[in-house]
């Protein structure tokens, strides 16, 4: 359908966005020197019958208006939990936010009342989920579900909400949008369902879109279409996107910066280009090496040995040390701090520079 990925700053294709559909929001005024969204030293635990799982252990990252940050990590690394903490949709219990700040436009969301936080959802920060089939309500038509946000949150009339829902569905390029308004989620294909989710998330012109593994449940060609759509929308609507994924391939084309998470920590943080060129954390390095490549045929695929840690018993020192090829005694004893490597890069590794400069392994 749409083969070539649009380069940034290229002429916008005619009809990509219906002009009346969404007024591009101007980059929001952020307070002096502050970021649009900033997470500071977030700690989240899950308290279950079996014990306390430390899911998030001091995560900090930030997002500026209009940029795309990819949060990368395996299952259980805490990337989705961080996102749900930002949205304020964590189930508490079992989740407990121990400490930290989530500052949106300078205000700490964690100190706000539930009602204040509800006002932020959808209008300021919106979210789309991995499996659009289960994330949409199976018993209501999609047009109704998109319109619900508009009616409930923007006070639109039924007719206006309906018209706007069609515009939104056209915006995310659902063919024959007006005819599909009354269809139910199960009547759409996987890719179209994810577009419905995106349309719903865009209903209130959010400044931040959190996309939690938006393409994981889709096949590869559809993945590319959805990623293209997201990067088009980001440019046209001047949104910032937090893209949560475990797929390095998805990230490369769309993200500006990458934060790599492991065991509830950000282990490496860099712009996409330098991270791919010279990863400065052994974990990132392992991830990059485990991507199958067409130009190295007949070789065994490299893997990271061992398993992700049990979050109820996180290893001492650097949590990655039992799996790390660079491991030294200091890694077992001392928790590494973020090492600043310049150009906004950080790596939570005692040997960050050595790892970065070591091209052999």
């Amino acid at each position: 359908m749409r083969g070539n990925r649009p380069t940034r700053g290229s002429e916008r294709k005619a009809g990509t966005v219906s002009q009346s559909a969404v007024q591009p929001t101007p980059a929001s005024p952020t307070p002096e020197g502050g970021h649009l969204l900033e997470i500071r030293d977030l700690h989240v635990e899950f308290r279950t019958g079996e014990g306390v799982a430390k899911v998030i252990n001091g995560v900090s990252y930030h997002l500026d208006a209009g940029e795309t940050l990819a949060v990368l990590g395996e299952s259980g690394s805490g990337k989705s939990v961080t996102a749900q903490a930002i949205m304020g949709i964590l189930d508490t219990p079992p989740a407990v936010i121990r400490s930290g700040q989530i500052r949106y436009q300078g205000r700490d969301l964690l100190t706000q009342s539930e009602e204040q936080r509800r006002q932020v959802r959808g209008t300021e920060i919106a979210m789309i989920f991995q499996d659009a089939l289960s994330a949409l309500n199976p018993t209501f038509p999609v047009g109704w579900q998109i319109g619900e946000t508009l009616r409930q949150r923007a006070g639109m009339s039924r007719g206006d909400a309906r018209r706007r829902a069609i515009e939104l569905m056209e915006l995310v390029k659902i063919p024959a949008a007006a005819n599909r308004l009354g269809d139910y989620p199960h009547q759409f294909s996987g890719g179209m369902r994810q577009r419905v989710m995106i349309a719903m998330a865009l209903a209130l012109d959010p400044k931040v879109l959190i996309a939690d593994e938006p393409t994981t449940a889709l096949d590869v060609t559809v993945q590319a279409q959805i990623m293209d759509l997201l990067s088009d929308l980001r440019r046209d609507l001047r949104m910032a996107i937090i893209l949560i994924t475990h797929d390095l391939g998805v990230v490369a084309g769309v993200a500006d910066r990458i934060a790599v998470m492991y065991a509830g920590r950000i282990v490496e943080h860099a712009d996409v280009r330098s991270l791919y060129k010279a990863p400065a954390h052994p974990y990132t390095k392992g991830l990059l090496k485990s991507i199958p490549r067409l130009d190295f045929q007949g070789q065994q695929l490299s893997t990271i040995r061992g398993l992700p840690p049990n979050l109820m018993r996180i290893p001492s020192g650097c949590p990655f040390h039992p799996r790390c090829p660079y491991v030294q005694q200091v890694c077992v004893d001392v928790v590494p701090h973020d090492l600043v490597l310049g150009d906004g890069r950080t790596s939570a590794c005692h040997f960050a520079q050595e790892v970065r400069d070591d091209r052999a392994r």
């Binding site: 749900q84 949205m87 949709i89 509800r118 006002q119 932020v120 959802r121 959808g122 209008t123 919106a126 979210m127 989920f129 499996d131 289960s134 994330a135 949409l136 309500n137 199976p138 018993t139 209501f140 038509p141 619900e148 946000t149 409930q152 949150r153 139910y184 199960h186 989710m197 719903m200 998330a201 209130l204």
Partner: protein, 312 residues
């Protein structure tokens, strides 16, 4: 959908003939001398015997005679003639008097089930593991464990006789108030089941992904639970209630017996006890139809509630 209903109606015709045949066979095939059974202890004269033999086509014997009488019965049934009870009354008249009472009783039981069972189930589902949840769980367990044959007399004695809050028996042509206690007793079992079903369904749906989506849309909690969760949770509950309404219509034998309510179950019980074959077959035939229609309505309702279900 129309084709589905038509096919189901055809199946209903088959089911109707099948069940009536079985009940007819069970009631009459076992009898040694139906004429003597009709007369009871009294002697039967030759003239009477000859008259009755001709009237009931008893001159035909064996399997051939059985089917002849069965189809004769069905022919009359289809013409709206349910025949005569052994007591000499028209079965149609007996049912016409009994049905309104049973329907009233079933509706009271159903109302109690929906109002109390579903409401409490939703609350228990929302506040899982709360005191309310645990106490309803315990209470429903007790209700489910105690059979109606025990529960009904206890309720009758305590509420009707001891504390005199309700009339202990209904009697002929009972009013709403007289049917209230029997209705509650009759509904208590389906109430307990409906409560637990609703609770589980609500609790399960509250954890569903679409609830997370609804929250991230910034909807108020009342709307998330009241619209999104409830709509999905009630699909199995409504299905259960539909089947249960069919059960309540026919299954009130014990309750109607204990409270002396002249409904369908009461008459059926009496007919079985007095070996009144024609009346038993007549009542059961009508109950079969009621039950089949209730099931059809449930299936149609299911498709209306859950858009994912399509009938071909």
């Amino acid at each position: 959908m129309v084709r589905f209903i038509l096919r189901r109606l055809l199946q209903m015709v088959l089911a109707f003939f099948g069940t009536t045949l079985i009940v007819y066979a069970l009631m009459f095939a076992g009898q040694g001398d139906p004429i003597q059974a009709l007369a009871g202890e009294r002697p039967v004269t030759e003239a009477q015997r000859a008259y009755l033999t001709e009237k009931f086509h008893l001159d035909r014997t064996g399997i051939d005679g059985f089917f002849y009488r069965y189809f004769d019965y069905i022919r009359n049934l289809l013409q709206g003639d349910l025949g005569e009870s052994l007591t000499g009354r028209q079965i149609g008249d007996i049912l016409a008097a009994a049905w309104p009472v049973t329907i009233k009783l079933a509706l009271i039981a159903m109302t109690v089930t929906v109002l109390v069972g579903v409401t409490a189930g939703v609350l228990a589902g929302i506040r899982r593991a709360s005191i309310f949840d645990n106490s309803t769980l315990l209470l429903t367990l007790v209700v489910l464990a105690v059979p109606t044959i025990v529960l009904a007399p206890i309720a009758q004695y305590l509420l009707g006789v001891r504390w005199q809050l309700f009339p202990p028996t209904a009697g002929a042509d009972p009013d709403f108030y007289a049917l209230l206690l029997p209705g509650i007793v009759l509904g208590s079992l389906s109430l307990a089941t409906a409560l637990r079903l609703t609770r589980t369904s609500v609790a399960e749906n509250l954890r569903a992904d679409y609830v997370r989506t609804a929250r991230s849309k910034g909807l108020v909690k009342r709307r998330i639970v009241g619209i999104h969760v409830l709509r999905n949770s009630l699909i199995p509950v409504v299905t259960f209630l539909g089947v249960e309404l069919g059960n309540l219509m026919g299954g009130a034998i014990i309750t109607e017996g204990v409270f002396n309510i002249p409904g369908v179950g009461f008459n059926l019980f009496r007919a079985i006890r007095t070996e009144d074959g024609p009346l038993v077959v007549g009542i059961v035939s009508v109950l079969v139809v009621v039950y089949l229609i209730a099931n059809l309505v449930v299936d149609v309702l299911y498709a209306v509630l859950d858009p994912r279900i399509r009938y071909e």
